[in-house]
């Protein structure tokens, strides 16, 4: 039953996502919302890519903002300056980002835990400085403009393009996690020593996950460039890394829905309150982050999942079938005890 409920929920959200621009397109204000939602979905792709290396493989990369920026610039340069076809530039960008990710991963993934986070954060800072100073590459503070093909000039077209790729990325991530390769990634997160002892080449697994993650965040960069139509070096800022991280944490790590809910929801809220609250909105989001981390360590989606299972156990009276690869918290035992 749960399976049908889940599929039904997904279809409902999908239908809403398809219908939304049709409604919003009717008013001038609504058109802005289309753009905000499109960017939200771009961040969702980035959060999904971070989910692969952080959520499933357990390595906290703080360089995903840089890779997203690199993807955006790579795409802009290929499309705008070199003059490659739009849809050909997309896969090339992803491959370039993946290659850079691979090269960065080679040294950085040999460090563990917080050291990896620091290493990647440093890389991000370096990238930002490089893009500020290599004006021949980035256009410097003037930035790099992108002139879209005419069929992409309408907001709602870009919305559907990004929606399509968001769904594609979700499906790819689902396939990876459910395949035989998925458990090896999770094994690295769960118990690295044991993973080594059962023959999993943990460094290789991390490198594969990191490269794949950079491939996907390159895609996010492409659509970031497409929607913004103008890039400045700030596009590679480490602030973006933290945004992606926060979207993922609040939405729910190691889930498929979490990164999307977190990114689209939070990005929309942040934009919504930009005018009225200014920079004070970050105070509120700091509080939300603290609240979520304390009470829903698995994020909003993880929390809903847990509530759902708890409710089923309480009123359904039946054994909860375990969701194959979903994260189970250590307090799993407690739940069974409290059903008096």
């Amino acid at each position: 039953m749960k399976k049908y409920a889940k599929i039904g929920l997904y279809l409902l959200v999908l239908a809403a996502a398809i219908a939304l621009p049709l409604l919003l397109n009717m008013s001038r204000k609504g058109k802005n919302h289309i753009s905000i939602l499109t960017l939200g979905m771009v961040w969702a792709i980035a959060a999904l890519s971070l989910n692969l290396i952080l959520g499933y493989t357990g390595q906290a990369s703080l360089a995903h903002g840089a890779f997203m920026g690199i993807g955006a610039y790579c795409f802009a340069i290929l499309f705008e300056r070199v003059g490659i076809n739009f849809w050909l530039a997309v896969p090339i960008t992803c491959l370039v980002t993946a290659l850079i990710g691979f090269l960065v991963g080679l040294p950085s993934l040999r460090t563990k835990g917080p050291y990896f986070a620091i290493f990647t954060l440093c890389f991000n800072v370096i990238v930002l400085v490089v893009f500020f100073n290599w004006t021949w590459l980035s256009g410097g503070v003037q930035g790099q403009a992108i002139t879209l093909p005419s069929y992409l000039s309408q907001r709602w077209v870009r919305y559907y393009v990004v929606l399509f790729f968001l769904i594609l990325v979700m499906l790819i991530e689902r396939q990876i996690v459910k395949s035989l390769a998925g458990p090896s990634l999770i094994a690295v997160r769960s118990n690295e020593n044991l993973a080594e002892a059962v023959g999993i080449r943990t460094f290789r697994e991390k490198l594969i996950a990191f490269t794949a993650s950079c491939f996907l965040v390159g895609l996010a960069g492409v659509f970031f460039a497409m929607e913004q139509q103008h890039l400045s070096p700030e596009a590679t800022s480490y602030l973006a890394s933290f945004y992606i991280l926060i979207y993922l944490l609040i939405g729910g790590v190691a889930t498929l829905g979490g990164p999307v809910v977190g990114a689209v929801g939070l990005y929309w809220l942040l934009s919504r309150f930009e005018k009225s609250l200014g920079d004070f909105r970050y105070l509120i989001f700091g509080l939300i982050l603290i609240f979520v981390i304390i009470y829903f360590p698995m994020g909003v989606v993880g929390g809903i999942k847990k509530l759902w299972e708890w409710a089923k156990e309480r009123w359904g009276g039946k054994e909860v079938p375990s969701d194959t690869l979903a994260y189970r918290g250590p307090d799993e035992e407690v739940r069974g005890v409290s059903s008096d």
Binding site: L180, A181, I186, G199
Partner: protein, 254 residues
Amino acid sequence: MTLLRIEGLTKRFGGLVAINKLDFDIPAGTITAIIGPNGAGKTTLFNVIGGAMRPDEGRVTLDDKDITGWRAHNVAREGISRTFQTTALFEELPTWVNLVIGYRMRTRSGILDGVFHTPRSVRERKDTSQRVLETLAFTGLGDYADKPAGSIPQEAQKRLAIGVALIGRPKLVLLDEPTGGVGLGETDEIISLIEKIRDSGVTACVIEHKMRMIMHLADHIVALNFGVKIADGNPQAVCENPGVIEAYLGECIA
């Protein structure tokens, strides 16, 4: 026939010699027990054989192949798997997924096979689930298949850890206190599991403190004290060895 041969193995931690010029053989198809007081170097020996630590001197050969100083994952792929003294499992994952991970080194499909659902991926998934079912039956963990590994009883966790080590069809399993932390009344299933392992043709090497159990289970015992081998032979001979009695047993039990 010798499966694993240890020659002149030495491991030092600074000034402390944890294992000192150790020589012994593990015959194929047997249960070999490693005994000795705390700090004798038993777990260090497992760490060195299993690749978690590099030895300072000496050689480890498996089936005449030199595996000295290999990384843990390569040792595992070569056919030596192990369990840990403090039961190590992928705790948040269901029992059956723990087994899937244990068998992963025998499959080759990567993430692209998963994304594109290649024939290799399909074939290996089938192979894996077949093997998982076999191992669930072998270890008697069928009832716990869907439960998170961290939530099943301690004794079942011990069997699962053995299952994770066994599922990749090793030649040799190193079991570090397989009944440690389990009540005396609950050890029967683990003991019969270890006997089943030997009967299925896999060589086992066990670190244990429960002497009565070891005397009945082991075909061959190696006794260590302060990193040095003090006895090596069949249970009766080791049990009657004056050095072993002085260092460890106090009196003969068997």
